[in-house]
């Protein structure tokens, strides 16, 4: 019974108590090691002060831990500061001015079913194949937009603006008389979704759509949405494969049902479900984003360096006609990866090897792009300006400017004392509308110019 008796059965070991307290905080997923070190130092200072006031070690630990506040409160405060994600503020009582709706799984399911049905609506109404697919996709994305708006409750003006945008793209999707080789159809099909996705971003960011923080939230949302969608697609693909195999074995041909119905309706529904999952199950994916970024940055860097070496050894791109398109896809992926990594970064994080690798990745992509441009411009004479080439050049220019700014700021961050990510964030988020403007031009203007070839 005596105080400090070493034989006490339930004695609290201060070190293991501190270790488990720290583990608990870190397991909440919102603390960096540095932040945990800092809080631990705080806790230990508190313990020292209490011991100096005459308390036993175990008593001091208990009181100090208690004084650190409710632990989820700490985690909540940290969450708000560390990631600045709007949804994180939900952890902290009463902070957001405009609460988001995160419950409502039933409503989400209704939106998903609606998206699946609308995706097939133009086809059901007897539209030809191209307008049926395009129109269905626009309607599915509009449902996704509506579900996002239902959750985020953006200002009316933004809702009206995006509704007009969706309506215009929908009308064009049905009205444009695509024909010939289908080049302009593919261009429309690739660029219109980007315009629509940025309109969804408008609804997602709501009143904060002009701010870098609001836009970055949307970039983060996009990255996490893609991860969820990929997971769902993977599972769905496996399921469809098994279904097809079983029905084939039964002697029935499942391909019509699967291709005409399950795949498009499933994709439309999955898009809505993925968006809902991003907003309601962030804890899971939040820890995944930085990890994925760190895993893929080195892999991409190695791959692009290998491609560059290949280009040097073989003397550049020779016979392949649409080489620029392939390199454009690469630049899109590099841009996306850089944005994704940046979106997962803490604003006060010190630059490290990730920044240097990213810089190397961007520079290598530049060099590869140089080879592609040389090959392309060398052969612009034969065949002249086809729609594909105009768009490929335009995309290239837009992405190059974006990446050049990024490379410059990354270099400043990696090699100088300008450690803050603020300028990078401002550049990347400020450039987002340029992508939208280009996509709009490519989807709306290019097809008529080339007579819907």
């Amino acid at each position: 019974m005596s105080r400090g008796d070493t034989g006490r059965v339930d004695a609290l070991d201060p070190e293991s108590a501190i270790a488990s307290w720290r583990a608990y905080l870190v397991s909440r997923g919102s603390l960096s090691d540095g932040d945990a070190d800092e809080l631990e130092d705080h806790l230990r200072s508190q313990i020292d002060a209490l011991r100096a006031a005459g308390l036993d070690a175990d008593e001091a630990v208990l009181i100090a831990v208690k004084r650190m506040g409710r632990q989820d409160e700490i985690a909540g405060e940290y969450a708000r500061e560390n990631s600045r994600r709007l949804w994180k503020q939900l952890v902290v009582a009463g902070s957001p001015a405009r609460p988001r709706r995160l419950d409502g799984g039933v409503i989400m399911l209704a939106f998903a079913v609606l998206a699946a049905l609308l995706a097939k609506l133009p086809w059901l109404l007897g539209a030809a194949i191209a307008p049926a697919v395009l129109g269905g996709a626009v309607l599915a994305m509009a449902t996704l937009a509506a579900s996002v708006a239902w959750r985020t409750r953006p200002p009316r003006a933004l809702v009206a603006a995006s509704a007009v945008g969706f309506a215009v793209i929908f009308v064009l999707a049905l009205a444009y008389p695509f024909g010939g080789r289908g080049d302009t159809l593919v261009i429309f099909g690739l660029h219109a979704p980007i315009v629509l996705w940025l309109l969804i971003g408008l609804l997602y960011a709501g009143a904060g759509w002009r701010t870098a923080a609001g836009r970055m939230d949307f970039v983060r949302f996009t990255g996490e949405w893609i991860v969820y969608l990929a997971l769902i697609a993977l599972g769905g693909g496996v399921l469809m494969g098994i279904t097809a195999a079983v029905f084939s074995a039964l002697g029935a041909d499942p391909s019509t049902v699967l291709i005409d119905w399950v795949a498009p309706c499933g994709a439309a529904g999955a898009a809505v479900v993925a968006a809902w999952l991003v907003d309601s199950k962030q804890e899971v994916i939040e820890n995944m984003a930085p990890v994925l970024g760190r895993v893929f940055t080195p892999l991409f860097t190695i791959a692009v360096l290998a491609m560059l070496a290949g280009a040097v050894v073989t003397g550049g791109f020779g016979a392949y006609r649409e080489v620029l398109i392939v390199v454009d896809v690469l630049l899109v992926v590099v841009t996306g990866l850089v944005l994704y990594v940046l979106s997962a970064q803490q604003p006060t994080a010190r630059p490290g090897w990730t920044e240097r690798l990213q810089l190397l990745l961007v520079l290598a992509a530049f060099a590869l792009n140089g080879f592609a441009l040389a090959a392309m411009l060398g052969r612009i004479g034969d065949g002249g300006f086809t729609p594909n080439r105009v768009v490929a050049l335009g995309v290239n220019l837009v992405l190059l400017v974006g990446l050049a700014g990024t490379a410059w700021l990354l270099a400043r961050r990696a090699f100088r004392a300008d450690a803050s990510t603020r300028r990078l964030l401002a550049w990347q988020t400020g450039y987002l509308p340029v992508y939208g403007a280009w996509a709009l031009a490519a989807a709306v203007v290019v097809p008529p110019i080339f007579a819907f070839a």
């Binding site: 705080h42 200072s45 940290y78 560390n82 006060t348």
Partner: protein
């Protein structure tokens, strides 16, 4: 005494900047200094201070570095930057206006709120 949430929020950044302008410090010591400056009336929590410090660091008003405490533990020290000093000067101007105005207003109605009699009057 518990300050209202708004007042706590408005005073916290200038207080931290002012304390750091006395010399670099760390979280636990800053809370102790606030307690001392307020004669034990204001008790900050870690949940308030560390997010605030990190926000100030993000705005480049303070800078942090890791050092060793007397006990040999790793400890994060914060120091005010030049931008932070400029910000502090601005806070000081605004607060002296606000406090003077309040002191005059409360002084005029001193009958109603004796507890708020301006400190200068008490000193005399």
């Amino acid at each position: 005494m518990r300050l209202a949430k708004d007042l706590m929020a408005a005073t916290s950044a200038p207080l931290v900047l002012a304390i750091l302008s006395e010399g670099e410090s760390y979280g636990y010591a800053i809370i102790a200094r606030v307690r001392e400056l307020s004669d034990g009336e204001i008790e900050w929590t870690d949940g308030l201070l560390y997010p605030l410090l990190h926000r100030l660091e993000g705005a480049e008003l303070v800078a942090s570095h890791w050092g060793l405490a007397e006990s040999g533990r790793k400890r994060r020290y914060y120091a005010i930057t030049d931008a932070g000093r400029a910000e502090l000067a601005e806070h000081r101007k605004q607060w002296s206006t606000a406090v003077n105005t309040l002191a005059h207003a409360f002084g005029a109605g001193g009958r109603l709120w004796p507890a708020f009699a301006p400190a200068t009057a008490v000193a005399r």
